[in-house]
Symmetry: C2
Subunit: 66 residues, 2 copies
């Protein structure tokens, strides 16, 4: 699952730590998601959508894998 978190952060000049704070998760969690270690939970995806004022589908890309 790809995502645009890095870009969205860059647009706002946010660090991974800043985003972690906004989403109420650890910095490592943001890093792991950005680097593709695992997918966020659905609740976390909703939070991200709220923070960036975008739809989940506009942040995360399913790319139909298995």
């Amino acid at each position: 699952m790809k995502n645009r978190l890095k870009v969205l952060r860059a647009e706002r000049n946010w660090t991974q730590a800043d985003l972690a704070l906004a989403l109420d998760v650890s910095r490592q969690t943001i890093n792991a998601i950005e680097t593709g270690k695992f997918d966020p939970s659905l609740p976390l995806a909703f939070k991200a959508a709220r923070v960036f004022q975008l739809r989940i589908e506009d942040i995360f890309d399913d790319e139909e894998g298995a």
Copy 2:
């Protein structure tokens, strides 16, 4: 996290087992999600959105709980 799976199934006359098959999860997983035992993963939410041709936000409702 609330969801409209039961209604969407009803519209199509699908059983929980039918939906489970379509989403490639167990029947118990569908039941647990419908009855609020736990939230689906993001990939599963994407699959549901694809199957029903809706946006994730139109199927699942975050309802801002902590």
